[in-house]
């Protein structure tokens, strides 16, 4: 059975709507994805029939909710090749997952002056600011990989950058601006040599192609439900179980304890230790349904489709005069996220005119301001694709850019 984008699109109710009198052309999936009816139905059914709090009650509703919540954990674990479900911690988004590690692993590593954390210039602010703050708290030093002119991680200084002082390396798996997919094997090998932990920000990779944590050989990954057909309010931290077991808690409260007295508390094992309070139950279940949906279609199929769309988009955009593409120019080693500039027109204006034509792209610094600075611009326009994107939508984008040039010509 081959991939049929028209059939896929039927699962997404939002594609029935118009924007400013034009059919919706949604090219902003790197920002947040649309949701298939299969995910919405599972969430609705849960709330209408099985809603109860988890892990706390012996009653039927509580038991049903707990089973569904834990089943979602198992699905997510299988989806990323985790050794066991208990390695999957539900957070509210990628950002919380990364902050959790910055606090808890930071504490475990007992960081201090002289220690180094390594990130890259390609990071989303969510994988940048938490490490800045960690360094502020502990006196450790933040260092980073640069970006090459082609939009790839500059690993030329790898051995110097990742050294005996390095305690943790955290880089993005796929850039949300440049589309670059980082092959982290050399980096991981070097980190292992010096005994540093490795975290990958997989917010843009897990939704779009097969990711296997064991193959990657890293210690932590973070990703977020709303970018992978799931609801808002749910994210995932995956970590090696032995590491998680040693980490102190981050958020504290109900459900993460073993026993509590006024003077002292002991903590539950992972994942409970890191899931304080009532978790996003319906949202986790929705993410489980999204994983089912993605698996049903096949992550390989999805990746292949996006590669085709990306190839087509790169061709079409290159053909528009005055358009400059940032990031890898061919589909190899990159995903379906293409940022560009239109000479002489500010991205805000590009985005506004496209929106008037129903074409939804993102403009701005994409929460990755250092990437814009690296390429010498204050902002970029970004079109990003997913399993439901069609070549017709790319055509609409190209036509829209002609209109942009007309207005500002």
């Amino acid at each position: 059975m081959s991939f049929d984008v028209a059939r896929v699109r039927k699962d997404f109710p939002i594609f029935e709507r118009e924007v400013n009198g034009h059919p919706l052309v949604y090219l902003d999936s790197a920002n947040t994805s649309q949701k298939p009816v299969q995910v919405l139905d599972v969430m609705r059914a849960h709330q209408e029939r099985h809603n109860g709090n988890v892990s706390r009650s012996v009653h039927t509703l509580g038991t049903e909710s707990t089973e569904r919540y834990e089943a979602a954990r198992a699905k997510v674990a299988a989806f990323i090749g985790a050794g066991r479900p208990d390695e999957v911690i539900f957070t509210k988004n990628s950002t919380e997952a990364i902050n959790l590690v910055a606090h808890a692993a930071g504490q475990l590593l007992a960081l201090g002056p002289g220690d180094e954390i390594v990130i890259s210039e390609m990071e989303h602010h969510s994988n940048l600011v938490p490490w800045q703050l960690l360094c502020e708290r502990t006196g450790a030093t933040l260092r980073w990989f640069g970006i090459t002119d082609e939009g790839r991680l500059d690993e030329s200084g790898l051995d110097e950058l990742v050294n005996e002082r390095t305690k943790l390396v955290s880089v993005v798996h796929m850039s949300n601006v440049l589309g670059t997919i980082n092959d982290v094997s050399a980096l991981v090998a070097r980190a292992r040599q010096v005994g540093a932990l490795v975290m990958l920000d997989c917010s843009q990779s897990v939704p779009h192609f097969p990711v296997d944590v064991r193959e990657l050989g890293v210690d932590f990954i973070a990703f977020t439900g709303h970018k992978m057909l799931g609801p808002t309010g749910i994210g995932v931290l995956w970590g090696r179980f032995d590491l998680l077991s040693e980490m102190p808690p981050f958020l504290a409260g109900g459900s993460m304890i073993e026993t509590v007295t006024m003077g002292r508390t002991t903590y539950a094992p992972p994942p409970a230790r890191f899931e304080a309070g009532t978790p996003p139950i319906t949202e986790a279940i929705g993410l489980g349904a999204a994983v089912d949906y993605l698996t049903g279609i096949g992550m390989d199929e999805i990746h292949r489709h996006e590669q085709e769309i990306t190839r087509y988009a790169l061709e079409q955009l290159s053909a528009v005069p005055d358009v400059r593409i940032y990031g890898p120019a061919s589909p190899a080693g990159r995903g379906g996220t293409v940022s560009f500039g239109v000479e002489g027109v500010h991205p805000h204006d590009v985005g506004q005119i496209l929106d008037a034509l129903g074409v939804e792209v993102r403009v701005g610094h994409h929460c990755a301001r250092p990437v814009c600075v690296r390429f010498g611009v204050p902002a970029m326009t970004r079109a990003s694709f997913y399993l439901y994107t069609t070549t017709e939508e790319i055509d609409a984008l190209a036509r829209g850019l002609d209109q942009v040039r007309k207005v500002f010509g």
Partner: protein, 151 residues
């Protein structure tokens, strides 16, 4: 009513008339386990030859009866037999009601077959068994690698 499977007379009997309850002074290993969800607690003490297994705790009928049955089944056994029985009980509990219990090996323990259908109560039934395993290990006795139990 659905409870028949859970509150078998055997279980209620062990709950109301527990065997071996009350901690002995002399022991080689001790473990204290808590069920964080409900606050059930148990302390188990064992001698290195398993000639004595004593316990005390606070908890529901399932966890208390389970401790009483454990005492009855394991006290005086050798490490090998205790390990086998331990494993059989854990498997029964984790079988979601699909495992056929071996009466010869599990004795009154077969009454817990119905508990396996109530996921929230499985950990009650297992609480004394997990504490026993730890106490035994501290007394130098390995009772086999039973599958890990989720709190």
């Amino acid at each position: 009513m659905m409870l028949d499977g859970l509150y078998q007379d055997i279980i209620l009997d062990h709950y109301k008339h527990p065997h071996g309850r009350g901690l002995r002074e002399r022991f080689d290993g001790e473990a204290h386990h808590v069920n964080p969800t409900c606050g059930d607690e148990i302390t188990v003490r064992v001698n290195a030859d398993l000639s004595e297994i004593s316990y005390d705790g606070l908890g529901c009928s399932i966890s208390q009866a389970s401790a009483s049955v454990l005492h009855e089944l394991l006290q005086g056994r050798d490490a090998h037999d205790a390990g086998e029985i331990h494993q059989a009980f854990v498997e029964l509990m984790q079988g979601r009601g699909q495992v056929e219990p071996d009466e010869e090996m599990l004795g009154d323990g077969i009454a817990f077959a119905g508990v396996a259908k109530f996921p929230a109560r499985v950990k009650c039934a297992l609480l004394p068994w997990m504490a026993f395993k730890d106490a035994a290990a501290r007394a130098g006795v390995e009772v086999g690698a039973s599958p890990e139990v989720k709190a």
